[in-house]
């Protein structure tokens, strides 16, 4: 099992938190809130595609809506492998941070 990068970790967490509503628009908003930085869509989709390729998430097509110009939403769901990776990363990270006193 490989350690996730920060971007991967953030995206996977977002997908997890959003649950049934994890598609492009809310994912972008959440990540922007978390980081406080503007995220360009091209970057977002490339990162998401990468997660799909690595098998951490899978996509699911929703109903088309008028507000989307007649296009369907594409939802992202964590795969089991993705959940495992997230858990693994969290464990490792906690272990690293465990014996660190307050930095300030």
């Amino acid at each position: 099992m490989e350690l996730l990068t920060v971007v991967e970790e953030m995206l996977l967490l977002t997908v997890f938190k959003l649950g049934d509503n994890a598609y492009g628009v809310p994912i972008r908003e959440t990540v922007m809130e978390m980081t406080g930085k503007r995220i360009v869509y091209g970057t977002l989709y490339n990162s998401l595609n990468q997660l799909v390729r690595k098998g951490y998430v899978r996509t699911e097509r929703g109903e088309p809506t008028a507000a989307r110009g007649g296009r369907s939403k594409v939802f992202y769901r964590l795969t089991d492998y993705g959940t495992e990776a997230l858990q693994f990363t969290r464990d490792r990270r906690s272990a690293i941070w465990a014996d660190v006193p307050d930095l300030a």
């Binding site: 492009g24 628009v25 091209g42």
Partner: protein
Amino acid sequence: MANLPPFSPPSWARWLLKRLAAYDQLNGSMGDFEEIYHNTASRVGVSAANRWYISELLATLPEYLLQSLLWRIQMFRNIIKTAWRVLKKERLFAAINIFGLAIGLTASLLIFLWVHHELSYERHHAHADSIYRVITVKDAVQNVRVPVTPSALAPQLVSDYAEVAAACRVRQTPQSLQRLDEKTSQMRVQVAFSERALFDCFTHPLVEGRMDAGWDQTPSIILTVNTARRFFGDASAVGEMLELQGQRLSVAAVVENAAGPSHLNFEAVVPLAVLERIDHRYDGESWAGLTLWTYGRLHEGTNADGFEAKTQTLIQAHRPESEYVLQLQPLRDIHLRALEGSDPISTIRLYAGLALFILIVAAINFINLSTARSSRRCLEVGLRKTLGARQSELMMQFQGEALLQTGIAFGLALLLSALLLPEFNALTGTPLKLDVLVSGGRWIMVAALPFVLGGLAGLYPAMVLSAFKPRQVMHKGGGHQFSHHFRQGLVILQFVLSLILFIGALGVARQLQYLQNKPLGFDATRLYYTEMQPMAPEGFEALRAALTAHPAIVSVTRTNMPLLDLGFETDHVFWEGQQPGEKVNVQIRTADAAYLNTLKMTLSQGRFFEAERGVDQGQSCVLNESAVRTMGLDDPVGKWFSFGEEQIRIIGVVRDFHHHSMHTAIEPLVFVHWPLYSRTLFLRINPGQREAAMAHLRSVWPRIRPDAPFQVRSFTAALDALYRNERHTATLVWWLGGLAVLVACLGLVGLTTYTVETVRKEIGIRKVMGATARGIVAQITGKYVRWVMLSIGISWPLSYLMLHGWLQGFAYRTPLSWDLFLSGGATILVLAALTVSALVLRAALVPPVKTLRCE
């Protein structure tokens, strides 16, 4: 839900986003964009939403572009990889394809180089387009055009005409030069006797030394860099002394070599003042003779036609009795258009056409073989399409294969050209270099060539192959009818072109042979000639005796000019029985009693000059048959003839002989006995004694021409030079014809191999049923033979027209008889039939059990 929202993003932005995201349909990014846009629009306003949409789009752009580029490179690599695999799998086809194309490309590359060289004459002169050579035309109707002009012309042009920026006179002859300190031996150098203005017309930048205004009057010489190096090595040449015909000349300056080919190919320039001292016949400022070349550079923007009209009658203005008018010839035309006879530019066009022919043949070959493979590839196409490949993608794949092959062929062609260039240069007598291909931005065109060629040649196969419908090809597994007919047409076209080249080569060779074998009317073998000093009859008799005293020299005569030149002629002649107003242009040759026997001409009537009869000198003449015919003399001997002064007697008639190249008809000619005009010496030498004769000549030389180095020319060599162009044409057409036939036969090999492969089982079954190998070969070969026969039928009239046109340039031509066409056609037919039947025979001899075993 189906209703669209009342506002939508700008359509161009939407279109752009759609294009960019086209490869990436998985994550619904388009939909997300729309949704945010819609939200923003309803919350904040449409213009804010538009702003957001566009800024988002622009921010995304680089990312998307990078992605799509990476994808394209990936795709290209994939195409090349697949193409390479296909190439390795079908080695024979690939080899034939590439080799055929490489041959065609090599031939056209070499000919391109040659054509480029021919067209680049004079182009390096900065003012090339405003320089003109003045030529002299006699009577304007008779079309006698010579490049020589009176020596007083150039100064007058400069002083009287504001249009003239500079004008110069040139006489260019090879001369022997020697260093005064005699550190090097004598060297032959092409010397231009000219003036300082030469460098105002033509571009030869100064390297060292100076060219003062007074240079024209000083005994000095200007050398080109190469000549300076020949004499003085790397040391500075300026101030050194050279000797030319006893004149001491100091080197005033060194100028750059000519930067390109030019009809003026001098290696040194000497003032005309020096020429006056060497050649006593040369008169510095005179309107009388036509003595040297005159060039003028007009100011930019001058109307050359208007200027020509003004200067046309300059000679007549000074000498009212003159029949000469002046014309201007653009500098760039000098090499490309002949003053008489056929223009070199037509030869250049012919060669360019031939190169194009052979390239077409090679390209057809390529197209043919690629489409012939189609039925092998159609299953692949079907499968790829079933798996979702689009036609455009498949086309790219096939185009990629074509490009790979043309790329390799092009590399091979460059290599072959580099290897063959020395041979080619020896053949055409030109100093061609490959770097012309890459100089001056031309490399872009050269580099683009394989792409264009590959694109064009691959287009049709790609269209045919990619258009297969999966259901059809999976079901039947065959190519289609249209491409079969198309291929057949191409093969026929290919053979027609090859046949035209081949028959053309045969025809050119036959004409050349005809020229070389046609009786000249005199014997050119072992005949030598040289220039001599003017001599009184007694002096010449003593010289003749000294020469013929040696057993190697048979006989000696003298005349006014080498036989093969034209020029000494007049139409100011009169004869007994002349109709009023009747005019004939006759060539004048001087001769003495020994002339007829030395040249071994035959007399048809009367007698030739006889030494004993003093009356012959200046009072008799001998005509050739052509003159007798043109003047309409029935019984010429004894009648009178005149050049406008006293009447002289016609004492005899000689058989017509070719006194010039066979491009022109034999002209009327008159022999007169004028010893003082006779400055050319003719000698006939005994067989096998050339060395001895030359040694003897060398010892007598100071009496022949004390002012010039030893130089004796052979008549056969001069004749050879006369037909050099034709020989080059013949050799080149031979090569091209042979190559075209080779390429066409290569194509046949490919096509036959393919046919044989598709009918292997059929052959097996036929054999089981009792067919003989002979019958099978006859059946398959028959089809190809019919194609070739059709091509022969088409090519005959076409090649007849081409050869007929080419032969019009000769006054004496071999008849275009049927056996020429028959033998050309038959050769190709036999070659094609042999090629095909050998391949089919190999397949027909395979035991049926081998081909049928697996079913």
